[in-house]
Symmetry: C2
Subunit: 581 residues, 2 copies
């Protein structure tokens, strides 16, 4: 079997360096949600394709840790590879370090790729692994992985202020103002969406996300941008240079960090940095005596990430335009579904059709994530992604859950509608109505400045709780502007997140009900935090809904909505109709 | 002026020890909400009577830190004393250590009473004060405070299982089970309500709270109880001794802690302990080499505190009985108010009348806190406490806010009703209805196991937010069983509190609206977390309301309630009527 052979190739490489085991995570050096094929070493080694896993290989065995979303997939894909499945959050599952200590001897070396572990993860692992010896190594795959897909460095687009609402020099100066203390600083940015937002650039280096493979180091004077300069059109180079951006090759980030002046405070944006880059950034200090401290990002969730999350009015107008374009396509799509339902279309065919309708808009750039089109019991699988090989026929009776989004030049969308097909049971209608009720109740919330997402979560979840049901995911994630469909730092979920909601933050609003083996219902709009009123009591905020896609009422049990909810639904659908005229 | 003379007496005592300043907090060694007169040294020194303050005295000056609730009172009471008022949380107010560093010289000694600072507060202050020299001292007031009220050690009552639902031996063994690790331990309890709950005893040593001045140290074998043994009836001594309690004099706690075996792990219940007792507990380890560690209480909020908070069915039945008795008295009281309104009764007279009605019940022991009976604009002062000297006449038009509670042998009550007197404006009715709506919406919540109070707060606060208003206090505090009316560790408030809500936890439910200078509205019921259902989704809880006092509907704008809220109100008032028959 090819996978066993590949693992043995890796074992040989490691053995030459006296390495007893290697821990292989599934992320890349930028710690984003999507990872270039180049970094998909777990898939190459084992055939396991899910996005979240950690593989550990020793000279005699291998084990893979993943979470409950992927247990079934892992059991099937790992068959015959000899890789042991370790179920995260299941009683009795050892941690990676426990397992390694059971399988290795004191003093054995455990390798970790210096570019795939954040410095914090690495130091935590060092503590856990003792008495084993941790060792940071370079990527060992180049020599053994034939036809390894290269990293792609595709052309970069520059977004002007008609799209971003703010130039790079202005963003830079606002960032500097928030960071400046008494000492000079270097703000080191690893996350690609933060860099793209700061520099008003977009690319296509990562699937579904208009990102540019890059690093960034900001000081009071300049933005040092590390990317493949050849992919930047010369007018963009001129434009950005005039706004204080200095270009460096992508591969030069390490050398630049090693040469950071001793007396400059190192600040790591959002706290994210690879072990390799962290150590490089501290080298001058380690070698020439301590001088400047390094400090965590001074704001909960990150200074830059918070700036990015608070959209300006131009960005919000772009979002609204994108939602209108997207609604036009989806309305055609829903009609197409209903017209073709008798022909036995598959979920995957439907997804392709939706893309076709979206493509009619000249500003459409692509999907913002893998379309989730899930009929019946597939709707209850939260991470269901129909493919050409694996897709069900859409039936005539039941719920069809459609959670998709698109990238437009002026905005990113993320919308879920659950179509009611044929006959529904009273239970199904009551579930649909509870989900809708939760979605509305969060939409109409008023709250004071300082409110955190966890305080509002019950508004969306409460009506579902009252049916004795519960969805296990968050209610709201942030959405990037013409960027990643999932972004931080804000959220609305059961778990505490100390980030407060601020005007301009864009969030999904997506309560749900999942009945395993039967159906899934999710309704997702996008909402923006906006000022409501300031008085002697407080500064108050509310949400504005910016999705423009009507909500079908076939499955609504109106008896279960109160008068305010009914009025909201009527107004919302009327507003959408006006917008789509 | 007597206060200046008293402060000078203290300065003389301090000067003899070369002490430049003393920091005097307003708590006692047990860190409870109410403090015996013996410890009210700030009141004796300055005339300031509010419960939360810190006084700092130097050889030449004095300053007092307090929060916004007490600014007006402090300005009036401190007049002529020369004590500078330091307004907490007001921009420009120095911290105590900043102020001391400005007023003293490097190396000057700053004294703190070793029994009034927790070890954590003391060490934090040590860090802050540098380069001043902190020094723990004994209470210096005995020699200068003539007629200092003594500590009271009143007779102790034992509550049998018909009231507590669980004997001491059983509580001890459950506690031991939760604390036992591999090493022997000593669980050191400073909080009086925790001791009273564990030992099933009650006293009258603290105002409004049926507490016994005591300390406790628990190990696997025994409960060592430190109190004045002479106040314990001999049958109670025998009973408790048979359940594993070993009696020691109150004053022996220090010696006992100093002699704790070296190899026993010190655990401080709820993390609370005086600097003196902490240092005593570590003396054997400091002197004879490190051996056992000391650890914080292993459970968020404290193991014992969590056990105490989850009431058993006998305790809950006791609460219900108490609420029925209390409702009977309050109904008579409300009628009396309406009958006598034309006679010009004061809030204080009304409070005495309510106590008179409550005293008709033979099981009534006293109030559970200072009655708040506040007419009109007084209702907007959250900490308003009418006294014989300071009390307004109850007018004919407006809201009368009545927040009172009582101690019965089988339970503690805390209830607020806002009576609508005469004519109200539409705005007043809408505010009243919003408060009621919030109270109801929290009452009918359903939620899953693991929910924290901050997740539910918006249910009570939301309807008030929707009117652009906000109350700044929490929505819910815990209530002790025949114990303190305020108890932890659970709460429902805007701030994150990681304690999860568990069945048997009793909470207030008290949203409010305050219009400064005009009126205050608060409606407060008591609710208990109870199991609802367990299914494939989760274990779900709900609240049961145990207050038995109807809610007057004169001020309700029924248009603003939805059908579920209306039904709840009707059912609740009907249920109360049945209970009170």
């Amino acid at each position: 079997m090819e996978y066993i052979a590949r693992m043995d190739l890796l074992r040989e490489v490691l053995a030459k360096e006296d390495i007893s085991a290697m821990i292989i995570p599934s992320n890349d050096p930028h710690f984003g949600e999507y990872v270039p094929e180049y970094y998909k070493t777990i898939k190459w080694l084992t055939g396991f394709t899910a996005e979240a896993a950690t593989l550990v290989i020793t000279q005699t065995g291998a084990a893979l840790w993943t979470d409950s979303r992927f247990f079934v997939q892992a059991e099937s894909q790992l068959q015959g590879t000899g890789v042991e499945l370790m179920k995260l959050k299941v009683e009795g599952t050892p941690t990676i370090s426990q397992w390694l200590k059971e399988n290795l001897q004191e003093g054995d070396i455990v390798a970790m790729d210096e570019e795939l572990f954040s410095y914090q993860e690495y130091t935590a692992m060092v503590d856990d692994l003792s008495p084993l010896i941790p060792s940071l190594i370079e990527d060992p795959f180049d020599s053994i992985w034939e036809d390894r897909p290269p990293l792609t460095f595709n052309p970069v687009r520059y977004l002007d202020e008609s799209v971003t609402g703010e130039g790079v020099a202005s963003k830079h100066s606002r960032l500097v103002e928030k960071l400046s203390g008494e000492l000079p600083f270097a703000y080191i940015i690893t996350a690609l969406d933060e860099i793209c937002w700061l520099c008003n650039i977009r690319g296509t280096d990562i699937e579904y996300n208009p990102l540019v493979l890059s690093y960034c180091v900001v000081n009071s004077e300049n933005i040092h941008l590390f990317l493949r300069e050849e992919v930047v059109p010369s007018d963009v180079v001129s434009k950005l240079s005039s706004e204080g951006v200095i270009f460096h090759p992508y591969e030069e980030i390490g050398r630049f960090l090693r040469n950071l002046p001793k007396d400059c405070v190192r600040i790591y944006s959002s706290g994210k940095i690879t072990a390799k880059n962290f150590l490089a950034s501290m080298e001058n200090i380690y070698q020439n005596g301590p001088f400047a401290p390094f400090i965590p990002d001074p704001m909960t969730g990150g200074v830059l990430s918070n700036m990015k999350a608070q959209k300006n009015s131009v960005e919000i107008e772009g979002f609204k335009r994108a939602y209108i374009e997207d609604a036009k396509a989806q309305i055609k799509f829903f009609a197409w579904i209903r017209e073709n339902i008798d022909n036995g279309i598959t979920e995957h065919q439907a997804a392709l059709k939706l893309i076709e309708f979206r493509s009619e808009c000249p500003d459409y750039l692509g999907e913002s994530f893998h379309p989730i089109i899930a009929f019946g019991s597939n709707g209850a699988i939260v991470h269901y992604e129909p493919t050409a090989e694996n897709s069900s026929i859409i039936g005539k009776n039941g719920f069809l859950l459609i959670d998709t989004g698109a990238q437009y030049t002026y905005g990113t969308t993320d919308t879920t509608r659950t179509l009611a097909l044929g006959e529904l049971t009273a239970e199904q209608k009551d579930d649909f109505t509870a989900v809708l009720k939760g979605m509305i109740d969060l939409s109409i919330a008023k709250f004071n400045k300082g409110t955190r997402g966890a305080q509002l979560d019950i508004l969306a979840r409460g009506p579902i709780f009252k049916r004795g049901k519960l969805y296990m995911h968050g209610t709201s994630h942030g959405i990037g502007h013409a960027l990643c469909v999932h972004e931080g730092p804000q959220s609305v979920r059961m778990e505490e997140n100390s980030v407060i909601l601020k005007p301009g933050m864009v969030l999904s609003n997506e309560p749900a009900v999942y009945i395993e083996g039967e159906y899934g219902i999710r309704i997702e709009n996008t909402i923006v935090v906006t000022p409501w009123q300031t008085n002697q009591f407080a500064e108050f905020y509310q949400f504005e809904t910016i999705t423009a896609l009507p909500i079908n009422t076939d499955a609504v049990n109106f008896e279960n909505l109160d008068s305010i909810e009914k009025a909201w639904l009527e107004d919302y659908n009327a507003k959408c109709a006006t917008l789509l005229k």
